[in-house]
C-alpha cells in the first residue's frame, strides 16, 4: 500500500501529472494576462477560453521532428531536458501544500527543505548552460555564457531575500516558516522588501522580460535553445512552466503566509497565491523592455543585493527586538 501511495504521490498528485496540468494552466494564465496588458486577446480557440492551448502546444512540439546537431555531444544533449524536468518536479514535491505534518517531518518536509528547494531551482540554470554549450552552436554558446553571467547577478539577492523570513521564523523548514507567519500575520509586512527583491530575482531566473537575455530572439536567435527542437524543446518549455509554479509556490510559502487549512482549503490558498505571484511576474514582463547583460549584473549588485542585505539586517534587528 505504501508503495502504491508513493507511486501515486510521484506520478499523479502532486507529482508529474498534477504539475503538468497546473503548470500549463499557469502558462495559459500568464499568456492571457500578458496579452490583455498588450491589448490583445491571447489564446482563445483551443478549449474554453483557450485553456488547452499550452497543452496543445506541448503535444504539437512532441510530434515535431527532433534534430540533434552533428557536432553536438549527443548523450548530454539528449539527457539534459529530462534531468531539467526531473529536477524542477522534485522541487515541486517539497512545497508545503501537500502531505506535510508539522509534528512529523517526512521525506518531503524536513528541516532544511527551503535550502533544497533553492538548490533544485538553481540546477536548471546550470542545465541550460550545459545544454547551450553541448549544442556547439555559436548563438547557443553566447546564450550559455549569458545564462551563467546572469546567474551571478540574481542568485545571491534571491538567497538573501528568501532566507531572511526563515531567520525571523527561526526555522529552515518551509512548513514551519509558513506556520510561524500564519500565527503572526503582521510580521509578513516586514518582509515586503524581500518579497519584491525575490520577485525580480525569480523573473531573472525564469528568463522572462526584462531578463530574457539568454534567448533574446532579435539578438541571438534562439539563444540557449537554438538547436533544440521537437520533444527536447517541449520538455525544456515544460521545465520552465513547472519552475514558474514552484518558484511562485516558494514565494507564496515564504512571503505570503503559506497555505493553511488542510488539504482542500490549503490547495485553494496555493492556487490563489501562486496565481497572484504569476500575475505580478506577468505585469513586470509587460511593463519592461529587455535590458543588457552588463546592466543586469550591475543592477543586481548595485540595487538588489544591498537591498537584500538591508532586509536581512532589518530581520535580524527585529528578531532581537521580539526576543
Amino acid at each position: 500500500m505504501a508503495v502504491v501511495r508513493t507511486v501515486l504521490y510521484l506520478v499523479v498528485y502532486p507529482g508529474l501529472l498534477f504539475l503538468f496540468v497546473y503548470s500549463t494552466f499557469c502558462e495559459w494564465f500568464d499568456r492571457k494576462v500578458y496579452a490583455r496588458f498588450q491589448n490583445r486577446m491571447g489564446p482563445t480557440h483551443t478549449g474554453r477560453f483557450g485553456l488547452l492551448q499550452p497543452i496543445a502546444d506541448f503535444f504539437k512540439l512532441m510530434a515535431k521532428e527532433d534534430v540533434v546537431p552533428e557536432a553536438a555531444d549527443k548523450r548530454l544533449f539528449t539527457v539534459l531536458p529530462i534531468i531539467g524536468l526531473a529536477v524542477v518536479s522534485t522541487a515541486g514535491l517539497l512545497l508545503p501544500v501537500w502531505n506535510f505534518d508539522l509534528a512529523n517531518p517526512g521525506w518531503t518536509s524536513f528541516s532544511g527543505d527551503i535550502i533544497v528547494v533553492l538548490y533544485l531551482l538553481s540546477l536548471p540554470t546550470l542545465i541550460l548552460f550545459l545544454a547551450a554549450w553541448s549544442s556547439t552552436n555559436l548563438f547557443s554558446t553566447i546564450g550559455g555564457a549569458r545564462v551563467l553571467t546572469m546567474l551571478f547577478g540574481y542568485e545571491v539577492p534571491l538567497f538573501l531575500a528568501v532566507l531572511s523570513p526563515a531567520i525571523l521564523a527561526d526555522s529552515w523548514r518551509l512548513a514551519e516558516i509558513a506556520a510561524f507567519y500564519q500565527a503572526k500575520p503582521l510580521l509578513l509586512l516586514t518582509n515586503i522588501l524581500g518579497f519584491l527583491i525575490a520577485l525580480v530575482a525569480v523573473q531573472a531566473k525564469l528568463e522572462r522580460t526584462p531578463f530574457d537575455i539568454p534567448h533574446a530572439e532579435t539578438e541571438i536567435v534562439g539563444g540557449t535553445f537554438t538547436e533544440y527542437s521537437g520533444k527536447k524543446l517541449a520538455l525544456f518549455r515544460l521545465t520552465f512552466d513547472i519552475e514558474m509554479v514552484v518558484a511562485s509556490g516558494l514565494l507564496a510559502a515564504v512571503f505570503l503566509g503559506g497555505f493553511p487549512g488542510g488539504a482542500v482549503v490549503g490547495f485553494i490558498h496555493f492556487v490563489v497565491k501562486t496565481l497572484f505571484v504569476i500575475f505580478l511576474l506577468s505585469l513586470l514582463r509587460a511593463l519592461t523592455s529587455r535590458i543588457r547583460i552588463d546592466q543586469v549584473v550591475s543592477f543586481a549588485w548595485k540595487y538588489l543585493a544591498p537591498l537584500a542585505v538591508l532586509q536581512l539586517l532589518a530581520t535580524i534587528l527585529l528578531k532581537g527586538l521580539i526576543a
Binding site: 496588458f37 498588450q38 491589448n39 490583445r40 555559436l138 548563438f139 553566447i142 522580460t209 526584462p210 530574457d212 537575455i213 533574446a216 530572439e217 532579435t218 539578438e219 541571438i220 536567435v221 509587460a286 511593463l287 519592461t288 523592455s289 529587455r290 535590458i291 543588457r292 547583460i293 552588463d294 546592466q295
Partner: protein, 400 residues
C-alpha cells in the same frame, strides 16, 4: 575570445536578407562587414522597357512601406521632363498621402524598435494605433499598401468633405497617442537604458558619411529636403525641422516621434487648406529629351531618382537611390564598439528597407570568397550540370 558571428542573411531581427558579419570580442563588437546582394530586383532595367505611365506603378513597388515616396519621386521627375504643372488640389492630395504614409511608416518603426529592444507591449500598442492611419489611407486610396494615387500631372482620386472630417478625426486620435509614446519612449527606465548612448554617430561623422533622414537629424544635422529644397507645396506650409543632439538611438526615437507630431500639423493644414479645382491635367505620351534629378524626403531620408529621357514614351535610364543605401556607411560606424545586444537596435534605428536598396545578385564562392556576376541563362546551365553530376544523396528519404 575573438570570433565572428553572422547576423543574416536569415535572422529573426532582420525581416529582409542582408548579411552583417560581426567580429566580436566577448560581447563587444570589434569589426563589422555589411554584405549586400541577396535579392535580385532588376527594376532599373525593367523601367527602361515600360512607358512613363507604367513606370509609376513599377516604382511604387520598390518598397512596401514607402511606396508612395518612390512613385511621387518618379512622378515629380517625369512631370519636370514633360513640363507639366499639376493643379494645386492634386498636389495637396499627393503630399497629404505622403504625410499620412510618413505617419504610418514612423509608427511601424516605433513598434519595430520596441520589439528589437524586447519591449513587446510598446510594439503591440503602436501597431494597434497604426491601424488608424492605415484605415485613413485605405479610405482615401482604396488600398493599404500600394495606394496608386499618383499619375502624371496630378492624382487619380479626389477626397470629399466626409473624408476630410474623418482624416481630422483620425489625426486627433493619433496625436494624443503619439504624445503618450513620446513620454514612454523618452522616460520608461528599462527602455531608455537600452537606447541611450547606444549607436553613437557624431555630427562630423554623420556629415562625412552622408547619413540621411532621421539618422542625420538625430546627430544634429538639420537636413531635410522638405525644408532645404522645398518641393511642390512644402514652402506654403508651416512645419518645423526636428533634430536631436544626443547622436544615439534615443535621439532617433525622439526625432521620429517629433516628426510624427509635425506630420499631424502638416496633414491638418493640408486638409483644411485644400484648394478647389481639378486634381489632374492631361499628360503627354512622350517626354522631351533631357535628364532630371528628383529629390523627395521619404520617411527614411532623402530619396533620389535620376531619370534620363530620349524623347520616346519610355525613360532611357532610371536610377533609384533609396535612403537606406545612404545610411549603410554610417551604420558601420555606429555598430563599432557596441555590444552584441545592441546590433538589432542600432541596425533597426536606421529603419532599414533592405530590398529597396538591392539591385543585383553577386555570386560568392564559399571557399575562396571569389565574386562574380553571371547571367541568368548561365546560372541555369550551371545548375543543370551540377544536378546531373551530383551523387545520389544518402538517406534522403522524406516522410510523407
Amino acid at each position: 575570445m575573438n570570433f565572428q558571428i553572422p547576423i543574416g542573411p536569415q535572422h529573426p531581427a532582420l525581416k529582409e536578407p542582408i548579411s552583417l558579419r560581426m567580429t566580436v570580442d566577448g560581447e563587444v563588437i570589434t569589426d563589422v562587414d555589411i554584405r549586400l546582394g541577396y535579392n535580385h530586383r532588376g527594376l532599373e532595367k525593367l523601367a527602361e522597357d515600360k512607358t512613363w505611365l507604367q513606370n509609376i506603378y513599377l516604382t511604387e513597388r520598390i518598397c512596401g512601406i514607402c511606396s508612395h515616396s518612390h512613385s511621387s519621386c518618379f512622378v515629380q521627375g517625369a512631370e519636370k521632363l514633360m513640363e507639366l504643372t499639376p493643379p494645386r488640389r492634386g498636389l495637396y492630395i499627393r503630399y497629404l498621402v505622403s504625410e499620412l504614409e510618413r505617419v504610418h511608416s514612423h509608427l511601424l518603426w516605433l513598434g519595430v524598435a520596441g520589439h528589437e529592444a524586447g519591449f513587446d507591449s510598446f510594439f503591440m500598442y503602436t501597431w494597434r494605433d497604426r491601424e488608424v492611419v492605415m484605415d485613413l489611407l485605405e479610405m482615401i486610396s482604396g488600398n493599404r499598401v500600394h495606394y496608386a494615387m499618383n499619375t502624371l500631372g496630378g492624382v487619380r482620386r479626389d477626397i470629399d468633405g466626409i473624408q476630410k472630417a474623418k482624416i481630422l478625426e483620425g489625426v486627433a486620435v493619433l496625436r494624443k497617442r503619439s504624445e503618450y509614446y513620446f513620454y514612454i519612449g523618452a522616460s520608461e527606465p528599462s527602455f531608455v537604458a537600452r537606447i541611450a548612448g547606444v549607436g553613437m554617430l557624431s555630427k562630423e561623422k554623420a556629415v562625412s558619411l552622408c547619413a540621411v533622414g532621421p539618422v542625420a537629424r538625430a546627430s544634429g544635422v538639420a537636413r531635410d529636403v522638405r525644408k532645404e529644397d522645398p518641393y511642390a507645396v512644402y514652402n506654403e506650409l508651416d512645419f518645423e525641422l526636428c533634430t536631436a543632439d544626443t547622436c544615439d538611438v534615443l535621439g532617433r526615437v525622439v526625432v521620429r516621434v517629433k516628426e510624427l507630431l509635425e506630420s499631424y500639423k502638416l496633414i491638418e493644414q493640408m486638409v483644411k487648406g485644400l484648394p478647389d479645382g481639378e486634381i489632374v491635367v492631361k499628360a503627354p505620351r512622350k517626354a522631351k529629351p533631357g535628364e532630371v534629378v528628383s529629390r523627395y524626403e521619404a520617411p527614411r531620408g532623402e530619396n533620389i531618382h535620376y531619370i534620363k529621357a530620349n524623347g520616346s514614351d519610355k525613360p532611357e535610364r532610371l536610377k533609384v537611390r533609396a535612403p537606406t543605401l545612404g545610411n549603410y556607411p554610417a551604420t558601420i560606424e555606429m555598430l563599432r564598439k557596441g555590444f552584441i545586444a545592441d546590433i538589432p537596435l542600432i541596425f533597426a534605428a536606421i529603419d532599414p528597407c533592405i530590398c529597396c536598396a538591392e539591385r543585383t545578385v553577386t555570386l560568392v564562392k564559399a571557399g575562396s570568397g571569389e565574386e562574380s556576376v553571371v547571367r541568368m541563362s548561365d546560372l541555369r546551365r550551371r545548375a543543370i550540370a551540377r544536378h546531373n553530376n551530383a551523387p545520389v544523396k544518402r538517406n534522403a528519404v522524406w516522410p510523407l
